[in-house]
């Protein structure tokens, strides 16, 4: 029997009264990586924000089950604590909060909410250093204010570092490839691949196929105009690259 990490059923979402998602059905078994591909304005970011619980994304119909439970009633911090992680397309710059302080605060907030013991400063630092090394993130970057003045690549690497530290069960990567050069893309993809696990599921949202040559998904879903219009194996990404989104819509 398949164990489902995420089950989205006939999901309709409106933003400012305008319907953006118009009946999405999509399920990810535990242990799999699925990709959602779509052109600009298809509703990719709306899907990721809705899953993470951002205010202003109103579910007008349908449901989202996470490990069999209704996700939609939970605040963003509760979702995070239960293992949902969203790597943002545009990570927010917060001058005045040191990156390391932020990581420590978030990790311990999650542990506290799960009734686990909080980690002391030394142990947090050790954990962060270990994980940061693989992503080529140095001490200097961790001391800087959160994302402030970071390059595109640095921001995305920091998102993946957070994923590595928080060890979510469901990771949603929203256009993690945007703004990355080839070297940065490889580094990020390696980071993501290292986190693939039988107990974890991922939803990789992207416009382009190129990320999916590095992170090979189990399934690919095509999102256009708020609907999944086609699903298939990882080859579908290559097909799309050759034919474009227009032809999928026509089909």
């Amino acid at each position: 029997m398949t164990e489902w990490m995420l089950e989205i059923d006939n999901l309709h979402v409106a933003v400012d009264g305008k319907e953006i998602l118009k009946g999405i059905t999509l399920s990810i078994p535990t242990g799999e990586v699925h990709a959602v591909m779509g052109p600009n304005g298809s509703g990719k970011s709306t899907l990721s924000y809705t899953l993470a619980g951002r205010e202003g994304y109103e579910i007008t119909r349908g449901r989202i089950l996470y490990q069999g439970e209704d996700l939609t009633k939970l605040a963003p911090e509760e979702r995070a604590t239960r293992g949902v992680f969203l790597a943002l397309q545009y990570p927010v710059e917060i001058p005045g909060v040191a990156t390391l302080t932020f990581l420590k605060t978030a990790l311990n907030a999650q542990r506290r909410a799960r009734r686990e013991t909080e980690l002391d400063a030394m142990r947090v630092l050790k954990l962060i250093r270990e994980k940061a090394k693989a992503l080529n993130i140095g001490e200097e970057m961790l001391k800087r204010p959160l994302n402030a003045g970071f390059s595109g690549g640095e921001k995305k690497r920091l998102e993946i570092l957070q994923m590595a530290i928080f060890e979510p069960k469901l990771a949603i990567l929203d256009e993690t490839d945007s703004g990355l050069d080839i070297d940065a893309l490889k580094l990020v993809a390696e980071g993501v691949n290292a986190l693939r696990a039988p107990t974890r599921a991922m939803l990789v949202i992207t416009h382009y196929q190129r990320l999916l040559t590095h992170i090979v998904p189990n399934r690919v879903h095509v999102l256009t105009k708020g609907r999944i219009v086609k699903s298939g194996g990882s080859d579908l990404a290559l097909e799309l690259e050759a034919s474009g989104y227009e032809n999928v819509e026509a089909a």
């Binding site: 993470a52 619980g53 951002r54 205010e55 605040a75 963003p76 911090e77 979702r79 995070a80 604590t81 992680f85 969203l86 943002l88 990570p91 927010v92 917060i94 001058p95 005045g96 909060v97 932020f102 605060t105 978030a106 990790l107 907030a109 999650q110 909410a113 204010p145 957070q162 928080f166």
Partner: protein, 437 residues
């Protein structure tokens, strides 16, 4: 600054009546030089009286309306004071003033001359005569003028060496009567000398009080003054401080002001950049929750090659109000003046208010004058980002508020002062209903 002709309010006459009745009893009365300056200051004050909102520079901060009852002039406090102030434990000689009167001097004071202005007489040193009452006593600072005309206490300080460190610990103990204290601080930092001044204002009690302080800062060529000021009083306190600084060639004035509590507080700052190389760098953080926190400044670029910087940040909660007015004046011939001011306010409640008014008057070419104002709520993107990482909403807000204020503090002061300020700031923000971590 233009003053409108107003029909005097009865409360406005309060100070004139005080002067008429008590001039002969004021410290230093009978000294011709001081009598003359006091009389002139009283005239300057009389142009507006206690300002109400019809006085342009006070339109956001109606002091006359806030003065509910007649106030008795404060008298010298007899008794023990244990309050060591917000900066207790940090190095420096501590001068404690109670209701504006010098009460105690703790610690050595080499290379610093100290004169109790509450007891000046015929033996007043020349350096005091040469400076006292020449700044912060004109019609553009009417309360400053009143603080000289009615001066009951205060201090004159002269610094002749480098790295002097002083605390001014202002305490207002609870009193039986509503009271007003008029006091003055005169500081002269001699050529090449430097001073770190930590000033704190605390108060208790539920009666009404008006602290009216006039501060004169004379910075001789190359002199440095680092000024950190924390004002945190009760919700019934009224507080006006008028600071005027005169900077000569290559002198530097760095100040961080923190306004954390009062029914009404007004900090009226005039900085005269009188010589090439003079530089003023002002920071302000305030966190009004119920009252008004007003910082009004004038940067007077009177010489070429002068620099002024201002970064003011307010977190406003409840029914609090923050007022930031900043006038930058570049006088004729003051070429290569370089000025920047940025006022930012964070509104945390629907009834919170922030008024910001930058004003530029430029009469010289080849100058740089920048200004910016931003008033808004917490950034929704940032708040979501933190919450999506598992940090609860209240804690996320606390982090963002802290970061907002830290921007004006962290790079400006050392760790000891930073931590002392944050102890009070955290308390003020917690009172505002924000959980801080």
């Amino acid at each position: 600054m233009t003053a409108l002709a107003l029909k005097p309010l009865s409360r406005t006459d309060l100070f004139q009546e005080d002067f008429a009745a008590n001039a002969a009893e004021l410290p230093g009365a009978g000294l011709a030089w001081l009598d003359k300056r006091r009389a002139k200051a009283l005239d300057a004050f009389a142009a507006t009286g206690v300002p109400n909102r019809r006085v342009e520079a006070w339109k956001y901060t109606d002091l006359a309306a806030a003065l509910e009852s007649p106030l008795e002039p404060a008298t010298r406090f007899q008794g023990a004071i244990h309050e060591a102030g917000a900066f207790a434990g940090i190095a420096g000689t501590r001068l404690t003033l109670v209701s504006g009167f010098l009460h105690a001097v703790d610690g050595p004071a080499q290379d610093i001359d100290i004169v109790d202005l509450g007891a000046i007489g015929a033996k007043t040193p020349d350096w005091v005569k040469d400076h006292l009452g020449l700044l912060a006593a004109g019609p553009e600072q009417p309360l400053g003028a009143a603080s000289l005309a009615l001066m009951r206490g205060g201090l004159a300080l002269r610094v002749r060496a480098s790295n002097a460190a002083l605390h001014l610990n202002f305490v207002n103990p609870a009193r039986r009567h509503d009271f007003v204290s008029h006091s003055r601080i005169l500081i002269v930092v001699e050529e090449g000398a430097s001073l770190r001044l930590l000033e704190s204002h605390g108060g208790e009690g539920t009666g009404q009080s008006l602290t009216n302080l006039g501060v004169e800062l004379n910075l001789k060529p190359g002199a440095r003054l680092e000024h950190v000021r924390l004002q945190s009083e009760s919700e019934t306190a009224l507080h006006v401080t008028s600071i005027a600084a005169a900077l000569e060639r290559n002198a530097g004035y760095r100040a961080l002001y923190a306004g954390l509590g009062a029914k009404l507080s007004r900090l009226d700052v005039v900085v005269q950049l009188n010589g090439p190389g003079a530089e003023a760098n002002l920071r302000n953080v305030s966190a009004p929750n119920a009252g008004i926190s007003d910082v009004t400044t004038v940067m007077d670029h009177a010489s070429p090659h002068t620099t002024s910087r201002q970064l003011f940040k307010s977190v406003v909660g409840g029914r609090g109000r923050s007022v930031n007015q900043g006038r930058v004046l570049v006088r004729e011939g003051a070429v290569k003046s370089d000025s920047h001011q940025l006022f930012k306010a964070l509104l945390l409640s629907p009834r919170a208010e922030a008024d910001a008014k930058p004003e530029l008057e430029i009469f010289a070419d080849d100058v740089i004058c920048g200004h910016g104002t931003a008033i808004g709520a917490l950034d929704a993107d940032a708040l979501f980002y933190l919450r999506s990482r598992g940090i609860p909403e209240a804690e996320s807000k606390g982090l963002l508020i802290r970061a907002f204020l830290e921007d004006a503090i962290e790079d400006f002061v050392d760790t000891a002062i930073h931590d002392a300020l944050w102890r009070r700031l955290d308390a003020a923000l917690t009172a505002m209903g924000q959980e801080l971590k």
